[in-house]
C-alpha cells in the first residue's frame, strides 16, 4: 500500500527538482538549430555548386555556416553560464566518459567548429575575401569537387551527431520519467532540422530554394507531430510514474503552453500556412518560419522544465 501522506525534512536547494534553468533550454535549442543548418548545408554542398552564384544567402554558401557559428557559440555560452564550478570547465577536455552523453557532447562541439570554419573559409563572404587575399586563394579549393563533397559529408555527420546528442542528453538521465523515452532523441533531431530549414527558408534569396525548403519543412513538421504523438502515447501507456509524467502535458500545469504554443503555434499553424504557400494559394511570407522557430525554442523550455518536475513518487 502506498502512503497517503509523505513528508521529508530534506530542504536543500535543488531538492525541488529544478536544477536546470533557461540556460539548458536555450543551449538545447541552439544546438539543435545549428545541427539543422549543418545537415542542410551539407546536403546542398554534396548536391552541387550553388545555383547561380548569386550573392547573399543560399544553402551551400558560407552564410549558414556563419549563422551556425554564432548560434553554437551563443549556445555554449549559455551552457557555460549554467555551470556552478566554472574555473574547472577544462576538466571536460581531459577525459572522455563513454557513458556520459554530456562528455560526448563536449567533444562533438569541438568537431562542429572546424566544419563550420572550413565552410566559411572555402566560401568567404565578399567583404572578407577582398580584405584577406589568403582567403581568396583558399576559396579556390572549393571548386574542387572532392573537397566540396567531403566537406558536405563532414557537415552532415557533425550535424547529425550534434542533433542526436541534444536529444539523448535528457533521456539518459534516469530519474526523470518524462525524459525516459527513446523518442526524445529523434524528436529533438527532427525539430532541429525543422528550425534549421525554417531559418534557411527565410534567409534564402532564391525563390526555387525557398519553395523546396518550405516543402521539406512541411515534411519535417509532419514527422515531428507524429513523434510527439508516439512519445505521449508511449509514456501514457507505460508505468504509473511515466503516465503521471505524461499528465504534466496532458491536463497538468504544462498542458496549455505545450498544446497552444509548441503544437498549435509552432507546428500546426506553420504547416497549414506553408501547405497553402506550396500550393500557390497564398504568397510566401516569413510568418511560418518564424512560428517554427518560436515552437522549437518553447519545446525545449517545456521539456526541460516539465521533465524536472516529473519524478519517481513515494506517494
Amino acid at each position: 500500500m502506498s502512503p497517503s501522506e509523505f513528508v521529508s525534512t530534506s530542504h536543500h536547494p535543488l531538492a525541488d527538482g529544478h536544477a536546470w534553468g533557461w540556460e539548458i533550454a536555450v543551449y538545447l535549442f541552439l544546438g539543435g538549430f545549428t545541427a539543422g543548418l549543418l545537415v542542410l548545408s551539407g546536403l546542398a554542398r554534396r548536391r552541387g555548386p550553388r545555383a547561380t552564384g548569386e550573392p547573399g544567402f543560399a544553402l551551400a554558401s558560407s552564410g549558414l555556416s556563419i549563422v551556425g557559428l554564432g548560434a553554437i557559440s551563443l549556445g555554449m555560452l549559455a551552457l557555460f553560464l549554467d555551470l556552478a564550478h566554472k574555473p574547472f570547465v577544462w576538466r571536460l577536455y581531459v577525459t572522455m566518459e563513454p557513458r556520459s552523453p554530456m562528455s560526448w557532447g563536449a567533444w562533438i562541439l569541438l568537431l562542429v567548429y572546424p566544419v563550420l570554419l572550413t565552410g566559411i573559409a572555402l566560401d568567404p563572404p565578399r567583404a572578407l575575401r577582398d580584405r584577406v587575399p589568403a582567403l581568396a586563394r583558399l576559396a579556390r579549393y572549393a571548386e574542387d569537387e572532392r573537397v566540396r563533397r567531403g566537406l558536405g559529408l563532414a557537415s552532415i555527420a557533425a550535424g547529425l551527431a550534434l542533433g542526436v546528442y541534444t536529444g539523448i542528453l535528457l533521456s539518459a538521465l534516469g530519474a526523470r520519467p518524462l525524459w525516459s523515452s527513446g523518442l526524445l532523441g529523434p524528436l529533438f533531431l527532427v525539430s532541429g532540422l525543422s528550425t534549421g530549414a525554417a531559418f534557411a527558408h527565410m534567409a534564402s534569396p532564391l525563390a526555387e530554394e525557398r519553395h523546396r525548403l518550405a516543402r521539406l519543412d512541411n515534411l519535417l513538421i509532419a514527422v515531428e507531430l507524429a513523434l510527439i504523438a508516439l512519445y505521449l502515447i508511449g509514456l501514457a501507456s507505460s508505468t504509473e510514474a511515466h503516465a503521471e509524467a505524461a499528465k504534466l502535458l496532458l491536463g497538468g500545469p504544462y498542458t496549455a503552453v505545450f498544446w497552444v504554443v509548441v503544437v498549435g503555434v509552432g507546428l500546426v499553424a506553420p504547416l497549414a500556412i506553408q501547405a497553402l504557400t506550396v500550393a500557390g494559394r497564398i504568397a510566401p511570407t516569413h510568418v511560418a518560419p518564424v512560428l517554427v522557430l518560436i515552437g522549437g525554442i518553447v519545446l525545449r523550455f517545456v521539456l526541460v522544465f516539465a521533465g524536472q518536475a516529473s519524478h519517481w513518487s513515494r506517494l
Binding site: S4, S8, S10, D82, A84, F88, P101, M102, S103, A175
Partner: protein, 179 residues
C-alpha cells in the same frame, strides 16, 4: 567484492534527527544543506493509521545514473566498497548528476561543486562506522558489507522482511529498511 550498504530498522527509529545533526557536525555541510534527512510516510485511513519514519541519504546505488551521466568522471565509484563519491576538483557543476538522482540526494555546494553523502568514507577507512550510524540512540542503523553473508547487515536482511526506496527507478539502492 565488498559492497558497503546500510540496514535501518524502521521499528526502532523515532525520528530524533540525531543522524542529521551528526552528519552536519562531522562533514561540516554549509548552512541550509544536509546530506541526510528524515521522512515520515503515513499509511491507511483514519483511524487505522500507521507511520513509517526513515533516515535517508544517498543510496550508493549499484548502477548509479549520477556516475554514468557525469561528463568529467568527477562522480565515481570508489574501488573499495562501491561507495559513490565526488572528486570536487574535477566537478564542473553541470548539475547533470543532481537531475539524474531519483532520490534528490545531491545538491550543489555554495562553492560550486556537487556534494552528497560519502558514507563517511574517511571514517570507514579507519575502521569506524559512518557518523550517523555511530550516534543513533536507538541503535536502529547498521553498516557493513552486503556481499559478506556473515556480516551483521546481511544477517539482518536474511532474517527480517525489508524494503528499499524506489527500487522501480532501477538504480539498485543499497540502503535497506527493516519493516
Amino acid at each position: 567484492m565488498t559492497r558497503l550498504g546500510m540496514v535501518i530498522d524502521t521499528r526502532r527509529c523515532v525520528g530524533c534527527q540525531d543522524c542529521v545533526v551528526a552528519c552536519k557536525t562531522e562533514n561540516r555541510t554549509p548552512e541550509g544543506y544536509n546530506r541526510d534527512w528524515i521522512t515520515y510516510a503515513t499509511k491507511g485511513r483514519f483511524p487505522t493509521l500507521s507511520m513509517t519514519i526513515q533516515s535517508e541519504r544517498c543510496n550508493h546505488c549499484d548502477d548509479p545514473p549520477c556516475v554514468s551521466c557525469c561528463p568529467t568522471g568527477a562522480s565515481h565509484v570508489h574501488p573499495w566498497g562501491g561507495v559513490v563519491l565526488i572528486d570536487h576538483d574535477a566537478c564542473i557543476g553541470c548539475k547533470a548528476c543532481v537531475v539524474s538522482c531519483p532520490y534528490d540526494a545531491r545538491y550543489i555546494h555554495p562553492d560550486g561543486y556537487a556534494d552528497k553523502c560519502t558514507f563517511c568514507i574517511h571514517r570507514v577507512e579507519r575502521g569506524q562506522d559512518p557518523a550517523c550510524v555511530s550516534v543513533c540512540p536507538t541503535h536502529c542503523m547498521h553498516f557493513g558489507d552486503l556481499d559478506d553473508p556473515e556480516s551483521e547487515v546481511s544477517r539482518l536482511l536474511a532474517s527480517r522482511p525489508h524494503h528499499a526506496n524506489l527500487p522501480e527507478a532501477g538504480t539498485g539502492p543499497r540502503i535497506f529498511y527493516l519493516d
